[in-house]
Structure formats: C-alpha cells, structure tokens
C-alpha cells in the first residue's frame, strides 16, 4: 500500500514539480483557447458546405468530412507536423497543430451542427419566411439557435473530446500539461506528476461530462 502511495500519490514529488505542471496547464489553456474557437467556427463552415444546395459542393464537403473522421487525429498531427518541414514549409508547431485540429474538429462539429439543423421542423423556417424575414435572417434568428440548443449535449461532449485531444500535442513536443507531467515523471522517477495531471484533467472535464449528461436527459 505504501509502495503504491509513494509511487502514485507522492505529495512531496507533486509539490516539487508543481511549477512545471502549472506552466504546462497554462500552455494547455492557451491551446484550448486557440483550438476550440477554430473547431467551432470551422464546424459551421463544414455544416454550411455539407448542406449546400449545389450537389457537387455538398458531396465534396461530405467526402472531406468523412475522410477526416476516418483519419486518426494523432496521424493527422504527425503528418502535418513532420511532413510539412520536408516541403521546406517551416510552420510554428502551434500552427501545424492548429491545422490538424481544424481539419479534425470541423468535421466532427460540422456533423453535429448538421444533425441540429435537421432536428428543427421545417415549419419554423416557413413561419419566419411568412413574416418577410430573409433566408439568412431566418437561419440566424430561428433555425440556428434551435439547432444549437437541440445538440448542446453533443457540442459539449465534443468539446470535451477536443480538450482531451490537446494532449496529443505532447507527442510533437509541445510542453502542454501532459507533456510537462511526463517530463516531470522522467526527472523524478515517480508517476505522481502524471497522476497530478490526470487529476487536473478530471477536475476540468468531469463537470462538462456531467453537464452534457444532464442536458441530454432534459432534452429527451
């Protein structure tokens, strides 16, 4: 029991590596602050393209969405991060991660928005158009708000997934939370830093997981 506690819950070690962990946490927060808006906005673009009235656009968009949903995000990150420099394109690491996340997250969020739009009855847009509202006014004020409300649990769940995905940045040496914790582990020969990082992730993500569950229950 003591061996377990010493290995996994060593408060002394945790205290010593705390500055490193906090710096990693700050870096993770920056990653999320950049990547989440990119994904949410990219998803709206993907949704608009994949519901386009022009068949060729629609099919191309759906093809691209399925392609990037089939692509493991880590492979996408490694591909962009390790591949582009060979081309002579030197991107900052954050930029290559942002590209990979944009492609992955837009596809997933796009599908969620699309399901949301489909869940709004046609009569809603009809009623709005009958009062003289334009197609774009109708979309912005009537269809989209209801769509988002209907898929809010899925949007939150996917946000959680996206935050988890930021840990993949550690593989391309971005000193985010998990990377810092792993570094601290190798410096201290002790797993407590990893546990500490896991606890931090849990503290941030668990409320969101619960919230999504609650909302889903309410909508059903």
């Amino acid at each position: 029991m003591n061996a377990l506690a010493g290995e996994f819950l060593n408060l002394d070690v945790m205290w010593r590596v705390m500055p490193m962990i906090l710096a990693g946490l700050a870096r993770s927060a920056v990653l999320c602050a950049v990547l989440l808006p990119i994904g949410l906005a990219g998803g709206i673009g993907a949704m608009l393209l994949s519901t386009s009235r022009v068949r060729a656009v629609r099919w191309a968009a759906i093809g691209a969405i399925d392609f990037f949903r089939a692509f493991p995000p880590l492979v996408l990150i490694v591909f962009v991060y390790a591949g582009l420099p060979f081309l002579g394109v030197e991107l900052p690491t954050l930029a290559s991660i942002a590209i990979a996340f944009f492609l992955n997250a837009s596809s997933y969020f796009g599908e969620i928005y699309r399901a949301g739009i489909r869940s709004v009855p046609a009569g809603q847009a009809e009623a709005a158009r009958s009062t003289g509202m334009t197609a774009s006014q109708t979309f912005l004020s009537v269809t989209f708000p209801q769509a988002v409300r209907n898929v809010l649990p899925e949007l939150i769940s996917n946000t959680v997934e996206l935050i988890k995905l930021t840990t993949l940045a550690s593989i391309v040496s971005v000193p985010e939370l998990l990377h810092s914790a792993d570094l601290a582990r190798s410096l201290t020969y002790n797993s407590s830093p990893l546990i500490l990082a896991a606890l931090i992730y849990f503290a941030i993500l668990w409320p969101l997981v619960r919230l999504a569950g609650r909302l889903e229950h309410r909508l059903r």
Partner: protein, 229 residues
C-alpha cells in the same frame, strides 16, 4: 524543382515507398488486431456494466458510475502513460500492447455503458412489467425484451464512439507499439522522407473510411426511430 516535384519527392516518393511499404503494412495487422480486441472487450464490458446497473443496487451502481465518469473524463493518452510508466515502479510490468488494450477497452467500456444505459432507460417501464408478468426471468427480459429496443437508440452513437476510440490505437506509438503509425514513424526516421507517413495515412483511410461511411448509413437508417429527439 517545381513545387509539385518537391511535393511528390517528399510525400509520394516511389523509391522510399518500395523500400518501406511492407514494414508499414506489417503495422496494419497490429492496428487491426488491437482494434478488434478493444472493440470486443470494451463493448462487452460496457454491456455487462449497463446490465448490472439496471439491477438498481446501490453498492453495484456507485462503483460503475465512478468507473464510467473517470474514464469518460480522462484523456486516453494520460491513461496510457499512467499505466505504462506507473505500474512497473510498483513491480507490475505489462507489455505495451497490453497497456494499450487495457486503456482503450476501459475508455470504450465507459462510453458504451452510458450509451447502453441511455437506451435501457428509454424503454418504457411497462415493458419490464409485461415481460416479468409472463414469467420471464430478469436475464431473459433483459436479453429478449429490453436490449432489442435499447439497441435502436444505442446503435448510431455507439458506432461513432467505437470508431473514434479504435482510431486511438495510433496512440500506442507513444509507448512503442509498432502499429501503422509506429512503423511509419520509424521508416520516416530512417528514410528522412515523408512518404512513409503518406503510406500510413493511406492505410488508415483504407481501414477506417468504410467504417465511417457505414456509420453514416446506419445513422440514416436508424434516424426515423429517434425522430424528434
């Protein structure tokens, strides 16, 4: 060199492809094997947990909820690293393949339990009463009455979730599993050319694109059943 020539030389280099494609293809068997084992373990564990939860016993439900919430909230890579680097220091040494299998199965089980549970609770309580009143046991009722109805609600989200988690087999490359990505990475290092990554990416797309397309169809077919939800 023109831009296209440079692109082709970097990402579509036939010379490099010829040398390494067999190595990378060997990674497919690892990815597929781990994927299948994870899906089998994760889904059955999730189903068992959901079944246990429907017994309605507090001592059973609480540990299940803790397990489920924990593994839904933690990043899979964090779980993998904790198990892989932590356990040896307390005397338990597991091969990286086993660590990958355990971690991803636990994550899939947690999500599957939630989806199954949502399906089960969506079945009207009268169904339990009706089935039990005809003399069916708890297990028979669960298997023949509740589960088929729950599956309707559960299949689309379950497929999506299963695909997402199976794609995470690529995370094994971080702890030295020689799956497609692991093999492509070594080839990348040896050849100093990005073509192995292209080959790896093509293999992943060949593996997963049919699944994604199938899940889209499945979703459409089941859509009428949950219309308005």
């Amino acid at each position: 060199m023109s831009a296209w020539d440079r692109f082709a030389f970097t990402f579509l280099n036939l010379e490099v492809a010829r040398t390494y494609w067999l190595d990378i293809a060997a990674g497919i068997s690892v990815t597929v094997f781990v994927g299948i084992v994870v899906v089998a373990t994760g889904l059955s564990l999730g189903l068992v947990l959901a079944g246990l939860r429907s017994l309605g016993l507090r001592v059973v439900t609480w540990p299940i909820l803790v397990f489920v919430d924990l593994f839904r909230s933690l990043p899979p890579l964090a779980i993998i690293l904790v198990i892989y680097f932590g356990l040896p220091n307390v005397g338990i040494v597991l091969p990286s393949l086993v660590v990958l299998w355990l971690s991803l199965s636990a994550v899939l089980a947690a999500f599957a339990e939630e989806v199954f549970w949502a399906g089960i609770t969506s079945v009207a309580p009268g169904q339990w009463l009706a089935a039990r009143s005809t003399g069916l046991t708890f297990g028979q009722t669960f298997a023949h009455v509740i589960l088929p109805q729950a599956a309707k609600l559960a299949v689309p989200p379950l497929t999506n979730r299963t695909i997402t988690i199976t794609k995470n087999v690529a995370l094994g490359s971080a702890i030295g599993v020689s799956d497609i990505l692991g093999q492509a990475n070594s080839a990348l290092a040896m050849s100093t050319n990005a073509t192995p990554l292209t080959i790896g990416a093509i293999f992943y797309v060949i593996l997963f694109l049919p699944l994604v397309v199938a899940s889209r169809r499945l979703e459409r077919r089941f859509a009428w059943g949950v219309a308005g939800s």
